[in-house]
Amino acid sequence: MTARLFRGLAWAATLGATAALFFLGDAYALRIGMTLAMFIALASGWNIIGGMAGYPSFATAGFFGLGAYAGALTQLRGVPMPLAWIVAAGVAAIVALAVGWIVLRLRGHYFAIASLAVMMVLRELATNWTMLTGGGMGLNLPVLQLGIIAQARLFFAAQAGLAIIAVIISALVASSGLGFALRCIRQNETAAGMLGLDARRAKSIAFAISAALAGAAGAIYASAISYIDPTDVFDLLNTVQPIIMAMLGGVGTVAGPVIGAALFVVLEQSIWTNFLSVHAALLGALVVALALFLPQGMLGQLHRRKVKP
């Protein structure tokens, strides 16, 4: 009971902090908040397929980039911005369903590589389909004529809203039959099949949800930054960082990706701000240390301590 109360308070405090940042933060704090919210959405989305189902997807950056381009292209054709974001989520989900039909047959390392290849194919398409995407020259989006704070608040609110949706979806999935099926798949997929679970359907849905969240995040990113090109939005870091975040917090849990993203973004930002030429190496050292000494994530660590009296 107290654990439940504690959890409720923690979520309430997080929401309170989000609201406080919205009303009180300056433009730069809002920008960092926007980045954090984006990574919460990406990490939570990845966690549904990568954590709950145990399918180590490397396609996150692929769907992020796909969403960015889908959102940008629809917006450039006159579709209102929020609608373009929804379209982008839909496009990413549909592509994930189609691609998932092929790659979700594979497991473990093979799935990891196939999903990475999916990202590469999407990036090459965006790079080479110059007529549509501008290729390496990139795409320019309309710039909003808003004040500094108004614009910062708008995109912070959009990414934070998406992050909240992502967490709610995660919680719903975790407590539903789908979540049960995904956990069975992670434990033993063959046995899950024998129990009469439609593993294929469960995996496909999880993959599509994860892709839709990444696609929406990409589309909001594109609107906020007003310029996209293939190397920016199909960046391998957008695949790897959400995974590290989910691991940091606790893979497969609802709160894990949120905690991990918050911790990682704060650490990463402070390293980046304070070290000009060695920030990549410091981040690397941090990542190695965390992976070696905290393989279960923060939540895993807490739970383990609880078991031991």
Binding site: L9, A29, A262, L276, S277
Partner: protein, 399 residues
């Protein structure tokens, strides 16, 4: 609990922006933000920008700073590595303005990142000077705080097509090989348009992927068109590889133009005799005749100071970066103020000569077009062929 700790950590991060600084604040200081791509795909270009800024800042500070009103102001550059990522460039720009309170920002590398981050400087009303953004689309947004020291790509390609046509009467067919990447691809497209305008047939337009390790297929196909002119764009490493493979496949043409590799010393060093006869255009050459304001009145003096400091010769990348700084310096001296708005107005009406040429920005903020040097590598040296007033030699046709 989670939320609280996140908030405190976040504000703790924001409260301590300690960045590498080149000078300590004492009295009046002109603070300039410089987001640089020091890691990631654009790292070689980022280093050139950094050198271009650094040599100016140190030279000026050694002389006591720049004259602002009745006193002198030191200059202080605030760097950030934006990791060749546009979002990071935008974030770094905003951080420099809102946290470090800079008076001006030096632009990121490339048209895309400059366009995205110029929306930030525009909103905060802080001038941005972009050394390496040449696409016209960057400047046609009606922004009042954006200035660029590279003339548009047309200024390179249109005179180039005219020159080649005049000097090689048999010129009918050309082929273009372009890296599928922001600046090189835009340049290739510009060349295609300029060639069509001049009535030169573009028999083949190919683009290769970033990181391509083999150009043999494209070159084999291009050789079949028997072109008189081969035009290649890319970064230095790509161009070295293309030139080597052309030699391996015994593919040659009367004119081989490569942009912008031949401007760089690395290019001729790496290729040796294979670099012979390659033509290029550039925004700046050490042999341009301009005479202008200190601290580097002439191109020759700039070139020598740069070699003394870094051991290699500068190319247009460093020169354009330094030119941005000199424009800012001239604006600050003219305005007699370090206020961003005053700097902006002074930049908009600036008209001075420098080692880089005339520093005058057009209504869009892009520098006014001047005749750009066209050169050929002859005997391991860059020999200027045009414009006429600085011509050093004649075009040699390759076999």
């Amino acid at each position: 609990m989670v939320g609280i700790s996140r908030r405190t950590l976040l504000s703790a991060t924001l409260a301590t922006p300690m960045i590498a600084r080149t000078a300590r604040a004492q009295g009046a200081v002109l603070r300039i933000g410089a987001p640089l791509p020091l890691t990631g795909g654009l790292a070689p270009e980022g280093l050139k920008q950094k050198h271009g800024y650094e040599i100016w800042a140190d030279t000026v500070n050694k002389q006591g700073g720049i004259k602002v009103g009745n006193g002198m102001a030191k200059v202080e550059l605030i760097y950030a590595d934006y990791e060749s990522n546009t979002a990071r460039a935008v974030q770094a720009t905003e951080r420099m303005i809102s946290q470090d309170k800079v008076s001006a920002v030096l632009g990121a590398y490339g048209s895309g990142a400059v366009k995205a981050s110029s929306s930030v400087t525009e909103r905060y009303k802080v001038p941005m000077l972009a050394p390496n953004a040449s696409a016209k689309e960057v400047y046609d947004q009606g922004y009042k705080f954006l200035f660029g020291t590279e003339a548009s790509n047309d200024a390179l390609t249109v005179p180039l097509a005219k020159f080649m046509q005049a000097h090689l009467p048999s010129l009918k067919t050309m082929v273009i090989l372009s890296r599928n990447d922001l600046f090189p691809l835009a340049l290739g497209r510009n060349m295609e348009a300029a060639a069509k305008q001049a009535g030169i047939d573009v028999a083949s337009f190919q683009s290769y992927a970033v990181g391509a390790m083999d150009h043999a297929s494209a070159l084999t196909e291009m050789a079949a068109a028997k072109p008189q002119w081969v035009f290649v764009t890319g970064y230095t490493n790509d161009l070295i590889l293309v030139r080597r493979q052309m030699a391996e496949l015994k593919f040659s043409a009367p004119i081989i133009t490569m942009l912008t590799g031949p401007s760089y010393k690395e290019f001729s060093d790496a290729l040796g005799p294979l670099a012979e006869g390659i033509t290029a255009v550039s925004w700046w050459e050490a042999s341009v005749p301009y005479h202008g304001i200190p601290p580097f009145p002439t191109a020759r003096e700039y070139n020598d100071a740069y070699i003394a400091r870094y051991g290699t010769a500068p190319d247009y990348g460093e020169a354009s970066s330094t030119a941005c700084c000199i424009a800012l310096q001239a604006a600050a001296e003219k305005a007699g103020s370090l206020d961003p708005l005053a700097l902006r107005d002074a930049l908009a009406s600036l008209d001075v000569m420098s080692f880089y040429g005339r520093l005058k920005f057009g209504p869009s903020g892009q520098i006014v077009v001047q005749a750009l040097p066209l050169f050929q590598l002859q005997g391991g040296k860059r020999v200027i062929l045009a414009p006429e007033d600085i011509r050093q030699g004649e075009l040699k046709i390759l076999s």
